[in-house]
């Protein structure tokens, strides 16, 4: 679907978060000069079209005590990546699982999964169990822990800056 100007204004108004009040959509409607029904109907359309996955929260793993954030990367042959991606994604401790391109020679891994845990040693133990349980020893893999997190925010999809808006229009 193509976003119209009203959709863009609506998305710009909610992408940073909804107000924490009993009737948040009424508050957004008042801000945009729409009715609550118009806001709800449009959001349902955006959700049905798959642009919005859900209305929810983003949890910061670190603040919850999940301090070990491991990116486990694998070098898996093309004909196996589908099967192994699916079985990794099924593991309870895996929170993301993606196939990505290799960047040779600097980077030879094509399957990425995130494992969050409270400590590095428990994450590594869990990974050992996963490797043993599924017979993944033959596939090269490595673990990249994060030492520091510098920026964590939701992506913004609509520029709210008027200059950017103008540029976008002028580009058609």
């Amino acid at each position: 679907m193509v976003l119209n100007e009203q959709d863009r204004e609506l998305i710009a108004a909610i992408q940073g978060g909804l107000p924490l009040v009993a009737k948040p959509y009424a508050a957004i409607a008042a801000q945009l000069g729409l009715t609550e029904d118009e806001v709800l109907t449009r959001l349902e359309t955006l959700q049905t079209a798959g642009l919005i996955k859900r209305m929810g929260v983003v949890v910061k793993h670190r603040a919850l005590g999940y301090r070990a954030n491991a990116m486990v990367v694998w070098d898996i042959p093309a004909d196996e990546v589908e099967r192994i991606g699916a079985l990794l994604a099924d593991e309870a401790c895996v929170t993301l699982c993606y196939q990505r391109p290799r960047r040779l020679p600097a980077w030879g891994y094509n399957l990425f999964c995130m494992i969050h845990g409270r400590a590095r040693d428990s994450v590594l133990r869990r990974l050992e169990q996963i490797v043993a349980c599924h017979g993944l020893e033959k596939f090269p893999h490595t673990v990249l822990f994060s030492s520091r997190s510098f920026k964590q925010r939701g992506a913004h999809y609509v520029e709210t800056d008027s200059r950017q808006k103008h540029l976008r229009r002028s580009h058609g």
Binding site: Q47, G56, V59, K60, H116, F150, R153, A155
Partner: protein
């Protein structure tokens, strides 16, 4: 953070309905008043346990693009390069990781063709090569982060 907060975090991850009073059902399920739920949510946001309550977008369906990028940043310039990279509004997350490629960030752009432009700007600004690894396939994960 107590057990009620933990239940709120777990329940909220499932998402809320798009309806006039979206918090009512959650509050009822948890045995809280809406006011108490909202004040606890506000505290979880203030404490930065949660980042925001709002829409979770599907970047591709929005017409935009998300890519994971990595750079090999000289250790003695790490702080400076971090500041330079984070100054780009398209950079959504940035982690230091223990590997030769030691800086990993997510680039979110409104249009796919902007990603290449921003990557070249980051390379020019930092003098470091950016390895761009957009996702080719996402393997489905349920919501299962139990607090």
């Amino acid at each position: 953070m107590d057990s009620i907060d933990a239940s709120i975090v777990n329940r909220m991850q499932e998402g809320l309905p798009v309806c006039p009073r979206p918090f009512d059902d959650v509050a009822a399920t948890l045995g809280l008043s809406v006011d108490e739920l909202l004040s606890r949510l506000q505290r979880l946001l203030d404490d930065k346990v949660l980042t925001r309550f709002g829409p979770m977008f599907n970047a591709e369906n929005m017409g935009g693009a998300l890519s994971l990028c990595a750079m090999q940043v000289p250790v003695n310039r790490y702080e400076q390069v971090t500041a330079e990279v984070n100054a780009f509004p398209e950079v959504a997350h940035n982690y230091e990781r223990d590997h030769l490629l030691n800086m990993w960030f997510v680039l979110a752009t409104e249009h796919p063709e902007q990603a290449g432009v921003v990557i070249r700007q980051i390379e020019q600004k930092t003098g470091c090569q950016v390895y761009d690894m957009p996702k080719q396939e996402e393997f489905y994960i349920g919501l299962k982060l139990a607090v």
